[in-house]
């Protein structure tokens, strides 16, 4: 599996370098505009760039898997004497690396932008005081990211097996993705009603109470225990099933 990761990285490091430089240059440009643009706008643009990074990394993660599942390079990858889980997991690891790299970089750049913003001292102090909140947000976003990718891998694989036609296969994979998302959402809602026991993590409670500058509408992050266990099992199951399908059922 490490070899698979090595070759994926070898093929992508130039994009990482280019994208990182572009992100840094954009933020440097935004910093220089702090005195000319309207109040806080450079920070808002920087923050939006970070969100765009999240979307780009997510699309990149799906495309990374789709490229080999639906493209000619699948003939290279799937004829290797490698287990399905190694192939799927290597893709997931690459995407997690991309997520960590670009979300961290865009977060740091947005914070630097904030440092140059006028009258942002209260917000900066709050962020520095509650660094754990940033970590919670990052972990939450990462877990969501992984869940979406695992579901995408399954949808793309099952659709490829069901449809030999590439075009219809991709459309079907989107339908499967939406359908399973809907079912998981409904089942989670049902479990939340049935077992309304939460694990209340309170990363934002201090901020909400102490800082008037940050208007957060929630004080605690309620994590329903039953729903969380259910979703964890579902995504592990989907990943295992995807690995099995690659090993036993794949039709290129």
């Amino acid at each position: 599996m490490l070899k698979l990761i090595k070759y994926e990285l070898a093929g992508r490091y130039k994009y990482y370098l280019g994208f990182s430089i572009a992100l840094i240059l954009l933020n440097i440009y935004l910093i220089t505009k702090n005195n000319t643009w309207s109040h806080g706008l450079p920070f808002v643009v920087s923050f939006m760039a970070g969100f765009a990074c999240f979307v780009a990394v997510l699309i990149s993660g799906v495309m990374l898997y789709q490229r080999d599942m639906y493209g000619d390079t699948g003939y290279l990858l799937f004829t290797l004497p490698q287990r399905g889980y190694a192939i799927a997991f290597s893709k997931l690891i690459i995407s997690i690396i991309e997520f960590t790299l670009f979300i961290t970089l865009s977060g740091v750049m947005a914070f630097i932008n904030l440092l140059y913003m006028h009258e942002a001292k209260a917000l900066i102090d709050t962020i520095l005081q509650y660094k754990i909140s940033v970590l919670y947000t990052f972990i939450f976003a990462l877990l969501t990211f992984i869940a979406v990718l695992v579901l995408s891998y399954f949808s793309l694989t099952i659709s490829k097996i069901a449809f030999y036609n590439k075009k219809y296969g991709k459309i079907l994979s989107l339908v499967v993705f939406l359908l399973i998302s809907y079912i998981i959402g409904k089942a989670s809602g049902f479990l939340i009603n049935l077992f309304p026991y939460n694990l209340n993590i309170s990363p934002f409670s201090g901020i909400a109470q102490r800082s008037g500058a940050v208007a957060l509408s929630f004080a605690v992050l309620p994590i329903n225990i039953a729903s969380t266990i259910f979703q964890t099992l579902v995504y592990i199951g989907l990943f295992t099933l995807t690995s099995y399908l690659i090993d036993k059922k794949i039709d290129l």
Binding site: Y7, A10, G11, F78, L80, P81, D247, D251, L252
Partner: protein, 231 residues
């Protein structure tokens, strides 16, 4: 001699289209089989099943006594009829990729083949012509000391000079203990390699046997027999 490949009543359907209609093929160790037939006859489908990237609808295929899977992929060296290398790769990267993933990859052999094919390790895969790309694919596949080589149209779209070079490379690198399946519709160029031939049409094997015996029996070359069969 043992069997390296045995396909029994192999059927593959794509919805209502029947690509393979009950193929029975046996290949002994050390033999070269020519799988001959026009486009769309089922050659590629059969080879993809043997390579482990397509599942049969029914029937069975055994490679070295095992169903297609991790083990068979480690002993089968498959050359598809498309460019399957990553666009970012240079020739050197492709060589290293194969060396890292296949324990039977012979680096020295690959260097010799690169020289023979006049390929530069620093060339980008995307900059290679179709003929050069085919030579690179062949270099990669032949550099493995595999038990079974599967070549899907190795001469397709290649000019005659390059064709000769590719055939020479195949001849020079055949080992006595390894077997080959070669599909092609350019039979005249390559028929001297075949020990056995199987003519496939519309998903069925319509004629098969020892190449020399067929030549003697029919008094014709395999190429002429092919033209007669598909006339």
């Amino acid at each position: 001699m043992g069997l390296i490949l045995k396909a029994t009543n192999l059927i593959k359907n794509y919805y209502s289209k029947k690509a393979l209609k009950g193929i029975n093929i046996e290949l002994e160790e050390g033999k070269i089989l020519g799988l001959l037939g026009p486009n769309g006859s089922g050659k590629t489908t059969f080879m993809k099943i043997a390579a482990g990237i397509l599942r049969p609808t029914s029937g069975e295929i055994l490679i070295d006594g095992q169903k297609p899977g991790i083990y068979t992929k480690s002993i089968v060296s498959y050359l598809p009829d498309i460019n399957y290398l990553y666009k970012w790769m240079r020739v050197r990267d492709a060589i290293n990729f194969f060396k890292d993933f296949y324990v039977d990859f012979d680096l020295e052999k690959s260097k010799r083949l690169l020289d023979f094919m006049k390929l530069d390790e620093n060339d980008k895969v995307t900059s290679l012509s179709k003929g050069m790309l085919e030579k690179l694919h062949l270099t990669l596949v032949l550099s493995r000391n595999a038990k079974l080589y599967i070549f899907d149209e190795p001469l397709g779209g290649i000019d005659p000079n390059t064709r000769e070079k590719i055939i020479d490379a195949i001849i020079d690198n055949i080992r006595e203990d390894s077997s080959m399946i070669i599909s092609t519709h350019l039979v005249r160029d390559i028929e001297r390699l075949f020990d056995d031939v199987a003519f496939i049409s519309d998903g069925n094997i319509i004629l098969k046997g020892n190449a020399e015996e067929l030549r003697t029996e029919k008094g014709k070359s395999i190429d002429e027999i092919l033209r007669e069969v598909y006339a």
